[in-house]
């Protein structure tokens, strides 16, 4: 096996271009996500106010809205159409419409009606703006209520009970700041590395066929397909697992992302993730004899991996078919592992099924071995027949 590994490293060394480019790509993605989401949650998102009232109250609402950290008032509009246009231009993500006569109605104890428009086509920004504006509405209501109750001579303690009889105390487990970076990077970065490892492995096997060195490769391994494949995979496993571990170290170590459970288990599942992804690549590359087609199938397969990991939209809410289909993706198991280990701090007794699943991907290697042995024998037979004919 050492011979095969040696041979593979020589190949990589003679053509370091791809390894360098792919590694740079990983670094670039890491830097991009880390710097882009560095504020945690998008702050000071632009929103608008359509102020038809123009009163003391509406001005104050604009002012207070601008003072909240989540949003900033991009513009105060005089009519609905302008605000709607600006929303379509993407300048604002939500706006309040304060109808004419609001202040008068409040003074007369009638309840005027505000309208809150938010743009959910931008999911994150729209939702966050909505949350801020809705809270603002609640606070404004509370403030007016308090004024009224005070004037009626109700005591301060009782006022709170009257305005807000029940509240929630929300605890967001492991991500109390609702930091988007934590949520995004912990799964996305290992996923990117795993699928670059997948493509690179696929490329390495496919290029043996392209160069027509399949026989030479298996000869180096003494005709044993499994050893040939393992020798091929391991240099990449080592390199990409190392990158993934460094990435995890930076995220959970330097960037202080929450990590409740054992580092060892997390590292183990990272290494297994890379290896499992490579096994998938090996199976695809060994079954499909055409190199460009191999790469296209690898790409087709991995393009769905991010969705099927279930970190953006939960798998349980997808149609039945995808529940089992997602098991074919190593990143799904990695994500479940991350959830149990890093978020809930559970031990091996909780996450062993995922480890088994990741290990089960190694079985694909056996299928790949059978295919490659078969091709090898075909070539050998072809050769001997050729010699016989020549003789």
């Amino acid at each position: 096996m050492l011979n095969v590994i040696h041979r593979e490293i020589r190949h990589i060394w003679s053509e370091p271009r791809y390894l360098v480019i792919l590694t740079l790509g990983i670094v670039l993605s890491f830097v991009l996500f880390a710097t882009m989401t560095s504020e945690g949650q998008p702050k000071r998102l632009p929103v608008g106010v359509v102020d038809l009232d123009g009163s003391y109250l509406s001005r104050r609402i604009c002012h207070e809205l601008d003072a909240t950290p989540g949003v900033k008032v991009y513009r105060v509009y005089e009519n609905h159409t302008d605000a709607r246009r600006d929303m379509q231009r993407g300048n604002i993500f939500a706006f309040y419409e304060i109808p004419k006569g609001t202040y008068n109605e409040v003074l007369q104890f009638k309840s005027p009606r505000f309208v809150l428009y938010n743009n959910s086509a931008y999911l994150l920004a729209g939702t966050l703006c909505y949350k801020q504006l809705a809270t603002m509405g609640m606070l404004a209501t509370g403030a007016v209520q308090r004024e009224v109750l005070r004037k009626k001579g109700v005591g301060e303690d009782e006022i709170m009970g009257l305005i807000q009889p029940v509240t929630f105390e929300t605890h967001n487990i492991s991500n109390p700041w609702i930091n988007y970076g934590i949520y995004l990077m912990t799964t996305l970065i290992p996923a990117i590395i795993a699928f670059i490892a997948l493509m690179h492995t696929g490329y390495a096997i496919a290029s043996e066929r392209r160069r027509k060195t399949l026989r030479q490769w298996l000869d180096t391994a003494g005709g044993n397909g499994l050893i040939a494949l393992l020798g091929k995979l391991l240099p990449y496993t080592f390199w990409y697992a190392m990158l993934a571990l460094i990435a995890n170290l930076i995220m959970f170590g330097f960037m202080d992302f929450p990590m409740e459970g054992s580092w060892l288990l997390m590292m183990l599942s990272t290494i297994l993730l890379i290896f499992a992804a490579q096994c998938v690549a090996a199976l695809i590359a060994c079954c499909i004899p055409d190199a460009p087609l191999t790469m296209s199938v690898c790409a087709l397969y991995s393009a769905m991996s991010f969705s099927l990991s279930g970190f953006s939209f939960p798998i349980d809410s997808m149609p039945e078919f995808f529940h089992s289909f997602s098991w074919l993706y190593p990143i799904r198991h990695y994500f479940l592992n991350y959830r149990t280990i890093a978020i809930y701090g559970a031990g091996f007794d909780q996450c062993w099924p995922q480890f088994c699943a990741l290990l089960a991907f190694a079985a694909m290697l056996l299928g790949a071995t059978l295919m490659i042995q078969w091709h090898y024998r075909l070539e050998l037979r072809h050769d001997t027949e050729g010699k016989e004919v020549a003789a």
Binding site: P112, L124, T127, P165, H200, P292, F313, M318
Partner: protein, 398 residues
Amino acid sequence: MNRHLLHFFDIWDVLSSEVRRVFKDSTVLLIFFFAPLLYPIIFCFMYKNENVRNLPVVVVDEARCDESKRFIHKMDATPEISVDFRCLNLDEAERLMQTGDAHAIFYFPKDFSQRIATKRTAHIGVFCDMSSFYYYKAALLGSNAVLIDEMHTIELLRYAADGVTGIEAEDQMQPIAYEEITAFNPTGGYGSFFLPVLLVLVLHQTLFLGICLLCGEAYENKRSLLLIPARLRNHSTYRVTLGRALCYLLIYIPIAILDLWFIPRWFHLPQLGNLYTILIFMLPFFLSVIFFSLTVGNFFVRQKITPMLCFVFFSVLLFFLTGMVWPQSNMPRFWLAFSYLFPSTPGVQGFVRISSMGANLAEVRSEYLALWIQAAAYFGTSTLSMKLIRKFKLFNAQ
């Protein structure tokens, strides 16, 4: 006049030879015709539920009073939440969260009823699973609706006890009413947000990949020069670039109509724009993607299979650079500028605004302009790249 007609024939020659190349290559056919059909359909099925429904949650009710039971009952009745488990203490509930059976805990402390009875604020503890934002969203949406409803009920009782009843109590309780309108994606669903972005990105990426493959193949088989018809070899190369671009454009117009118009229609995605606006907007998009891909393909791709190596992370990067997830207003300046190197950024922004948000061309003017500028710039670079290839090859031949 005659000369112009000749130019036209040159372009036609390049175009027809390029069409033949496309249809001879099975991998390119797979990428051009199969992937743009397969992906939209798979992803539309994947996200057809839009939102999380009946999120399994666990309830720890230490209060065991009328109010808490009514609260739990109402929560179970919301479409978002389903109260599947009841536990005696928080430890037990936490174990259910660890195994992934439940995704939120609602905890009613012992003093819950007492606080309500003494007109103080009562608290309910909520523990959310943050591994996916959609768990959090469903738990919050469902429980908030119940909270507001319960507050209303209790407040009415309290006001009644103070002698305020009827409309007067209603007005006092809610001195300012507000109405919420969620525009352009009424359910706030993931599918309606993600799929329009995906549709444009799929077109962008398949076109990019296919063109890079064709460039790689030509280079590999030392046929880059053959792309230039013999009589044009000493002339300017813009006709070659135009001819090839026209070939891809003709192939992609029907695909674009299917993907950007019929798929959203069939799968009931938000669709407020009209087909003509979309097509007029997408024309510079396709041109700039084609010229961008030709530039990258001619300059960097030396082997047919290399473009696919970088494909995965490139797609993910483009997705996040479009500014649909992390808003453009909050993107660091550098990345914002960087994102405008790729046609996908203005393309996605413009398409979503037209198709999901019903904008007209005037409202996406800046994106439209950006696409034409990109198209012009990349046309220049791709012509240049052809020129360099010719120079290089002729030099080598001598």
